[in-house]
Each structure stands twice: as structure tokens, then as C-alpha cells.
């Protein structure tokens, strides 16, 4: 019987699916602990106000209430604020402003949703009822929501102690070189654009259960997190002052993250601390409406991009100025997003010799903004790829040729960009050519004509991108301001009977790690898939880990696994040499078997494992028993996936409604372990990118109220808003990790938004449109078509 191939490159059906399709997933809110209490958080409905007084008496007296805590209660225990994991320095060398981010608002609320009190009762309903009885006296203050308002002279100040709304004013690149290039440019093309603010909206709302065991003095937090060890570190060391050995953080099945579940949130600290106070478990489950005003938002940039070109259309220099919204407080990775995850990507796939970018990060009276799928790279890609089409529009150069003539050539790798990064591999010409072929770019004029015959406006758009993921080399990010290392950890534990448990510091919340990692282990160790268990998400089980984000799990976590498996094989060879009375150098390993070169002597990995745990005949003088190895892997560089996305749209001029009628993504994500999972990741990312481009916007009114605060108001892409998404891959291997993998989690969301907007602008070319900001809503498009769209062309 031929075994079905399940190693690297096979679309193995997912091991985790059976429990999810049977209703046996184990999400945080599915758990309840004996004697559990329920917490509800009272949040500010004001964008900016002084808290003059809080009367908790009626709430405390309400039925079922166990406790009500406000900021002054936390202050008695000298709890810390929520820490920020990345420090940026401004142009003048001064560190970023880092105002206190309290667990509960103290003295002042700074955004709608800012937590003020935690009400704990026997049931959730009782806690909700009691929270309504809190009497809070406010003095409203003027508020700001947009970056433009934040830098206006005389603007209200979010943090009085900072003295202005500036968090930092940072730059990168060679300004003099850029200025000199602009002085000799034949063309200068300028584009003002925004990157719309988004709400991540993972389908599972956040949830946290705190527990305290008085017998052992141990705290346990079960939480919806992408990185339980990071939460343990941040919450233990900085907020609650609990030592790691007394704090366990568990992240079980997690229903999507997209970045929003990376961060240490105040609610995690609240329930853990309260559980210690009450000696009872405390559970908090977020409502969706509450999630809109408390999950970190994404994007929210306002930029000016200017390209200098020579007479032939070659790029000479790029100048970018961006104002980035940090929200009211600094979330865990917030300062890294508009700086090292954004401006370092502004060379893009182009050999632009000089790039200079300034980034002004500001505080506003809005929910904190942090990494959302792509984190900085979608913002860079949208800016560059919109600029490409605007350059083509302004200069008359064909948009495909403009890109081609400025691509970094395939033989130029490794390629040092003028903004710090060194790309290791890529082939942008090939991904572009493949995408154009799959999308039938050449056949577009006929489709446009056919659409026109039906009264529809058809457009096609392209985006060619590169991104940096596989986050990240610890030494490098340390120099750039990260306050943590970004290595990954794997523990490979062979069991005496030949099965294996692999513990990873990464976390799966939809990515299918239980399958992909099992394929990797199967491929390397030859153990059958059903004998491999992948364990993640529990600080008591896993040595350490930095979690899953920045498409790092396979590139960094998988590499750690390879290193640990290499150690297993190395030790196994010594045991095998002893058993088969051969020299270690003569032992070969492959397909799960150790053999003596040139002989038919063989021992299976299972036999070696048994010997390691039952060491009766064993080199005990020179070798420890057991077969259990741990490896830490610190990457040498980022990885650089790239590719080309092509979108085709049809616009109904009567309604302004855009239909995406075709979408092609050809991505170079390095070596692919499971093509089915990679395609799914790309499709999901593209859906979020189309969502950003056409539908989604977190809107605040001028007074700081969140207008799009529920699924009634915030347009999530639905099945009938999206097309089938054609996914292709084209591989160049990463040159610096053992698997040659790059990462696929974010490419869809990075490459797609400008492809969509370029297609929309192309469809509206007859109306003199040069640029449309996202989301390209029907109202915006209808106004262009019906209300003198030519005004837009004059910018």
C-alpha cells in the first residue's frame, strides 16, 4: 500500500478541523471555573473628560454584586500602567513621549471606551445591571480624533503632562541625497493620501478569566491572546508585579487575531488582579460593541508622497511625510508600526536610490492604534502603488512598464535598500508576468468594451509589492527600539513508544499550525502524522515563546523546530551508533530510520526513543538518557515575501456600487509546506484588503464619538461582496532560514488594497479622477460620476 504523501508540499487536510466542525473547539468563553464571578467593565461614553467623582454605593448594593473597583483601588496596590514594547527616538534624539496608560482611567478619560470601573457579580446580568447604577460625574473637555486636528495650533491636549500631542517626530533615510535628486529631477509627482482607520474584528470577541490558587499562590490567566508568554512577561513584570513562576497564561483556541490579540490589554490585568483580591475566578467577555471601542484599531495614516523622476521615467528619489495616529495611549507595538514596519518598506520593489521619510506620531482621543494584519507594510504598499499609478497618469508612461523599468532586477539580490533593509531574494518581474497572465491583462480591453455595452464602467489595477516579515532578528530590533527579543522556541519531546509532542512558542488562531508543523515534523523525523501532537498556548507547558504575528510562525518558530529536531537526530545517532556498534560518523538518518552507511543495519527512531528512556543497553557514561530537545532560533534577517496582485472591478454608474469581478494574487512566500493553507491565508488576507479598499472605515465625528461602533455601522465584507480569489505562488527561497520559507499570513492584506483602488480609478478614468481615498464607497464614487468629478482631477 502506498502511503499518502503528507510531507512538505502536500495539501494535508487540517488536523484541528474535526473539533471545530463538531462544535468542540475550546475557546476562552467556553470555559467556566467553579465558583466563578463575572466582570463587566464600565467604560467612558465621553471622548475626553475630567472625572470629578464616582459614586459606587448603589452599584455595590445591587443584587449579586461581589465587588466594584475603580482606579483608586488599584493605586492602593501600586499597580503599574500598561507598558509599551517599543521605544522610538525622535529626530533630535529625544525618546518618544510615553504617558501613563492606566488599567482604569484615573482623573481623566481620553477616549470613548476608556475603562473606568470593573463591576464583579455572581452573574453577568447582575454585573451589567449594577454597572448601570454607577454614578460618574464628568467635566467634558474638547476632543480631537484626527491627526490633522491633533497638530492644529491650540488643539486640545490628550496628555497634559506631555505638553503637546506629539508622541515622536522620527525620520529615516538620507535627506540631503533626496533633496539633491529632486533638484535635478525632470518630473516631480506628488500625491496626498490617507490610509483609513480600521477595526480588526476577529470573529471571537476578547475574553479573559483570572484565577488565583491560595494553596500555591499561583495566578492563572486564560485569555484570547496571540502570544501568552508576552502577556505573562508584560503583565507580570510591569503591571501586577508577579513573578513568572507564579503566573500562568493560557491562550486556548483563539478565534482569529489579525494583530488585535497581540497586545496586553487592561482587562487581562483587571481580572487577574481581582481574582487575587476576591480569591475567586473572575471572567470577563467582551461584547462586540465593546470590542469596537476597546480592541486596538489599525492603520490611520495621513501622508504626502513625492517622487522625483528623470526624463525617462527612472525613479531618482522618494520623499514621504506621514502623520500617524497612536490613539489615546500607546498600545504594545504601536510605535513600531508607522516607523520600522512602514518607512523601511518605502523602497518597495523599486531600485529608487534615495528615500527619505518623516513620521510624526500623535495622540488623539481615540482607541489606541496598533498593528493590524500587515502592520505598516499595507500602509507603505498603498502609498507606493497608488503613487505608481499617479505617476503613470501624470507622465503618460504605461503603468506596467513604469513598474518594470524600476524593479529591482532578479539578479540584484541580496539588495540593500536606502532605508535599512537588505532583501535576500525575490523576482518581481516573474510574479508580475505570472499575475498578468493569470488575470488575462491583455484581454482587458475586450472585457471593458463588453461592460461598457451593458452600461458598466470596468477598470483593472495592479499592485507589485514586497514586505518584511518573519519578525525578527533580536539584535537588530533591539537597536531599533524593541524592548524584547523576537526569537522563537521549540521543544521536541520524543516519547518512549515513538510518538512525539512538539511544544511551540508560536500560537495558532486560524493558521493551521497543528497541521503545518506536524507536516514539518513528519517530513524531518518520519513519524506518522497521527503520532505527532503540536502544543501551543500555555506558559506552563512551553519553555518560552514570542507568539504569532508578523508571519513569523513558520519562518522563526518552524526554524526553531528544525533546530530542535536536528538535536534529536544528533543524539539519536549516538544512541544508534552504540546499539549497532558503529562509529557515529557512519550513522545516517532518513525516513525515520538510523542506518549504518554501507550496511543493512537499521534502527527506527521509535527504537532509539525507547532505548533513550529505557537505557539498559546505553552509552550511559557519555550520554544522558532521554530524547527531549529544546532549541531557540533567532533569525538572521527579516524575510521578504513579494508579489503582484491584480484586481478587476465593474462600477454601476447609476448607483456608484463597485463590484470586484476578478482578483488574482501571485505571491512569492518562499517554500510552501501546505499549499491549501497558504491559499486560504492569501484569500483571507485579500478579503480584508478588499474590505479596507471598498467597505471598512472606523469613523469618529469631529467631537471624538465613534460613529461606526457596531456591525450595523461598520461594513464588514460579506460573501456577496467578494469574488473568487485566484491564488498563485512563485517561489524564490529565503536564503537565511533552514526551510527557505518567507511567510504568507499578511501578503493578501498588504498587496490588495492599492490593486483595488487602482482598478477603481482606472474604471473612472473618463471622469478625470487621479486618486480616491479608501474606502471607495458608492457615495464617493456616485458623487464623482454625478457631481462634476473633474474637480477631483485638479489636485
Amino acid at each position: 500500500m502506498n502511503a499518502i504523501f503528507q510531507g512538505i508540499g502536500a495539501s494535508v487536510r487540517r488536523k484541528e478541523d474535526l473539533r471545530f466542525i463538531s462544535g468542540r473547539g475550546h475557546y476562552t468563553d467556553d470555559m467556566n471555573k467553579p465558583n466563578q464571578t463575572h466582570a463587566v467593565i464600565k467604560r467612558s461614553d465621553r471622548p475626553h473628560a475630567k472625572i470629578l467623582g464616582i459614586d459606587t454605593a448603589a452599584a455595590k448594593a445591587a443584587p449579586g454584586v461581589v465587588a466594584v473597583f475603580i482606579a483608586s483601588d488599584l493605586e492602593k496596590d501600586a499597580l503599574g500602567g500598561i507598558p509599551c514594547g517599543w521605544q522610538i527616538h525622535s529626530k533630535d534624539g529625544s525618546p518618544m513621549a510615553e504617558p501613563m496608560h492606566p488599567i482604569l482611567a484615573s482623573g481623566k478619560v481620553r477616549h470613548v471606551g476608556d475603562p473606568i470601573a470593573i463591576v464583579i457579580a455572581e452573574t453577568r446580568e447582575q454585573a451589567k445591571d449594577a454597572a448601570e447604577k454607577l454614578v460618574i460625574e464628568f467635566e467634558d473637555l474638547p476632543a480631537i480624533a484626527t491627526v490633522r486636528d491633533a497638530i492644529r495650533p491650540g488643539a486640545p491636549i490628550v496628555h497634559d503632562e506631555v505638553g503637546s500631542n506629539t508622541c515622536f517626530d522620527w525620520h529615516i533615510g538620507d535627506k540631503d541625497m533626496v533633496d539633491a535628486a529632486f533638484a535635478r529631477a525632470a518630473h516631480v509627482v506628488k500625491l496626498d493620501l490617507t490610509n483609513n482607520r480600521l477595526v480588526p474584528n476577529a470573529m471571537e470577541p476578547r475574553c479573559a478569566i483570572g484565577d488565583f490558587d491560595p494553596m500555591s499562590d499561583e495566578y492563572t490567566l486564560v485569555t484570547t491572546s496571540q502570544n501568552p508568554h508576552v502577556i505573562r512577561l508584560l503583565m507580570g513584570a510591569f503591571v501586577l508585579h508577579l513573578p513568572e513562576h507564579k503566573l500562568r497564561v493560557v491562550a486556548p483556541d483563539v478565534g482569529g487575531g489579525f494583530g488585535s490579540k497581540i497586545y496586553h490589554y487592561a482587562e487581562e490585568a483587571m481580572v487577574t488582579w481581582a481574582a487575587g483580591k476576591l480569591k475567586r475566578p473572575v471572567k470577563w467577555t467582551c461584547d462586540r460593541t465593546e470590542a469596537f471601542m476597546s480592541d486596538a484599531h489599525g492603520r490611520d495614516h495621513d501622508s504626502v508622497a513625492t517622487m522625483a523622476l528623470d526624463a525617462e521615467g527612472n525613479f531618482l528619489a522618494l520623499r514621504v511625510s506621514t502623520i500617524a495616529n497612536m490613539g489615546a495611549y500607546l498600545s504594545t507595538f504601536a510605535p513600531a508600526v508607522p516607523t520600522y514596519l512602514y518607512a523601511t518598506l518605502l523602497a518597495g520593489v523599486y531600485k529608487t536610490p534615495a528615500v527619505y521619510a518623516e513620521v510624526h506620531a500623535v495622540f488623539t482621543n481615540t482607541v489606541p492604534v496598533d498593528a493590524y494584519r500587515g502592520a505598516g507594510r499595507p500602509e507603505a504598499t498603498f502609498l507606493l502603488e497608488r503613487l505608481m499609478d499617479v505617476i503613470a497618469h501624470d507622465t503618460g508612461i504605461d503603468r506596467v512598464k513604469l513598474r518594470q523599468q524600476n524593479f529591482i532586477p532578479a539578479d540584484a539580490f541580496p539588495y540593500q535598500t536606502p532605508v535599512a533593509l537588505q532583501y535576500d531574494s525575490g523576482d518581481y518581474q516573474t510574479t508580475q508576468a505570472k499575475a498578468m497572465e493569470h488575470a488575462d491583462w491583455a484581454g482587458f480591453p475586450a472585457r471593458k468594451a463588453a461592460a461598457a455595452a451593458k452600461g458598466k464602467l470596468r477598470g483593472i489595477g495592479m499592485s507589485t509589492y514586497v514586505e518584511a516579515c518573519g519578525i525578527a532578528p533580536s539584535k537588530l530590533v533591539g537597536q531599533l527600539g524593541a524592548r524584547a527579543g523576537l526569537y522563537e522556541v521549540a521543544n521536541v519531546r520524543m516519547h518512549p513508544t515513538g510518538s512525539v509532542t512538539v511544544f511551540t512558542g508560536t500560537h495558532s488562531h486560524g493558521q493551521g499550525h497543528e497541521t503545518t508543523f506536524a507536516q514539518l515534523v513528519h517530513d524531518q523525523l518520519g513519524i506518522p502524522m497521527n503520532q505527532i501532537e503540536i502544543v501551543h498556548g500555555d506558559t506552563d507547558k512551553i519553555p518560552f515563546g514570542m507568539g504569532t504575528y508578523g508571519s513569523r510562525s513558520l519562518a522563526v518558530g518552524g526554524s526553531a523546530m528544525v533546530k530542535a529536531m536536528d538535536k534529536i537526530i544528533e543524539k539519536g545517532k549516538k544512541i544508534a551508533a552504540h546499539l549497532m556498534e558503529a562509529a557515529v560518523e557512519d550513522i545516517e538518518f532518513g525516513g525515520g530510520k538510523f542506518s549504518v552507511a554501507g550496511t543493512d543495519k537499521v534502527k527506527t527512531l521509535g527504537e532509539i526513543a525507547l532505548t533513550a528512556y529505557v537505557p539498559h543497553n546505553y552509552p550511559i557514561e557519555t550520554l544522558e538518557p532521554g530524547l527531549d530537545e529544546t532549541a531557540f532560533y533567532d533569525p538572521k534577517n527579516f524575510t521578504y515575501p513579494g508579489g503582484c496582485h491584480i484586481c478587476e472591478v465593474e462600477i454601476d454608474p447609476d448607483t456608484g456600487v463597485t463590484s470586484v469581478v476578478g482578483f488574482t494574487a501571485v505571491d512569492d512566500v518562499g517554500r510552501v509546506i501546505n499549499p491549501m493553507i497558504v491559499e486560504g491565508q492569501v484569500q483571507g488576507g485579500v478579503a480584508q484588503g478588499i474590505g479596507q479598499a471598498l467597505y471598512e472605515a472606523a469613523v469618529y465625528d469631529s467631537e471624538g464619538q465613534l460613529v461606526s461602533g457596531s456591525f450595523m455601522d461598520y461594513t464588514m465584507p460579506r460573501a456577496d461582496n467578494l469574488p473568487n480569489i485566484l491564488v498563485g505562488t512563485e517561489t524564490t527561497l529565503c536564503t537565511h532560514n533552514p526551510l527557505g520559507v518567507k511567510g504568507c499570513g499578511e501578503v493578501g492584506a498588504i498587496g490588495s488594497p492599492p490593486a483595488v483602488i487602482n482598478a477603481v480609478v482606472d474604471a473612472l478614468s473618463g471622469y478625470g479622477v487621479r486618486h480616491i481615498d479608501m474606502p471607495a464607497s458608492p457615495q464617493k464614487i456616485w458623487s464623482i460620476i454625478h457631481a462634476g468629478g473633474h474637480k477631483m482631477a485638479a489636485e
Binding site: 484541528e16 466542525i21 463538531s22 475557546y27 486560524g510 493551521g512 484569500q683 493578501g748
Partner: protein
């Protein structure tokens, strides 16, 4: 306290509830059937969809009292007693129609009702329209649509011969 008597996945229960208790709360908290999820509070996402007397309903907008005397099927009740999966569950697994799995129970329940109510056939456009009440943030719906299309012939006993 009022009580309701209902059949869930073939088993009859009588449960004390508050007047405001929602069907989803009864299922998750009183019967510990946590496969049915809560993804929003505005009846938009469909993570809570179950079948009530064979028709899909959003259990987050159904009072427990409204379920009195009905027969409810949840995701836990789809597979046969011997563990054989429902064709829709199989199709979701085969076509990689789930990633994080959180929307999946509601998506599967919704999809079964959609297929059941279209014995005449189901176009891709109809499937996409039929999923308007379900949100998924992971898959982009591409593979969900494929899975439902693949489950239709199986559920209607018209399994296509591989002759395309």
C-alpha cells in the same frame, strides 16, 4: 422563574430561565453546548445560528422562552451517533472552509438550511447571497462557497459522477 421545555439534539430538557434569557445563553450556559458562539450583539454575524424546528435562527436574537416546545439542533447534534459527520461538516473540512473555527458552527448550520431550502439547485451567486447573515473574517468566503456547492449534491442524493 419561568421555565421552558425543549428538545435539543434529540434530548428533552426543562430549564429555568429569566424572561430575558436568550436561546444562545440557554444552550451555552445551561446545557453547556458551547459549540454555538456569540460573535456580536446586533444580530449581524451569524456565529450563533442553530436550527429551530429545522429552520435556521439566530439564537442570540431568540428568547429562550420562544423556544418552548420546539426542537433545536446545534452543531453538536449534526454528526450521527457513530460519529459520521454530516455532509456539510465533511465538505467544510475537505475544502478548507474554516480557519479559526469561530464562525464555523453558525456557518455550517446556515449552509445546511440554505442547501435544504434549494432542492432545485444552488448557484454560486445564490450561495453568496444566502450567506449574507454570516460573517467570516478568516477565509474570504472563497472556500466556504466551494464547500457548500460541494455539499449540495451529496445532501440531495445527487452525488455527481466525476465526469467533468
Amino acid at each position: 422563574m419561568p421555565h421552558v421545555t425543549l428538545t435539543v439534539n434529540g434530548k428533552t430538557h426543562t430549564v429555568d430561565v429569566e424572561a430575558r434569557t436568550l436561546l444562545v445563553e440557554l444552550l451555552r450556559e445551561k446545557l453547556t453546548l458551547t459549540g454555538t458562539h456569540i460573535g456580536c450583539d446586533t444580530s449581524q454575524c451569524g456565529a450563533c445560528i442553530v436550527h429551530m424546528d429545522g429552520v435556521s435562527v439566530k439564537s442570540c436574537t431568540t428568547l429562550a422562552l420562544q423556544a418552548d416546545g420546539t426542537s433545536v439542533t446545534t452543531i453538536e447534534g449534526l454528526a450521527a451517533a457513530d460519529g459520521t459527520l454530516h455532509p456539510m461538516q465533511e465538505a467544510f473540512r475537505e475544502h478548507h472552509a474554516l480557519q479559526c473555527g469561530f464562525c464555523t458552527p453558525g456557518m455550517v448550520m446556515s449552509a445546511i438550511d440554505l442547501v435544504n431550502s434549494h432542492p432545485e439547485g444552488l448557484s454560486e451567486e445564490q450561495i453568496r447571497h444566502g450567506l449574507e447573515g454570516n460573517l467570516c473574517r478568516c477565509t474570504g468566503y472563497h472556500n466556504i462557497v466551494k464547500a457548500i456547492a460541494a455539499a449540495w449534491p451529496v445532501m440531495h442524493g445527487k452525488e455527481l459522477v466525476a465526469a467533468e
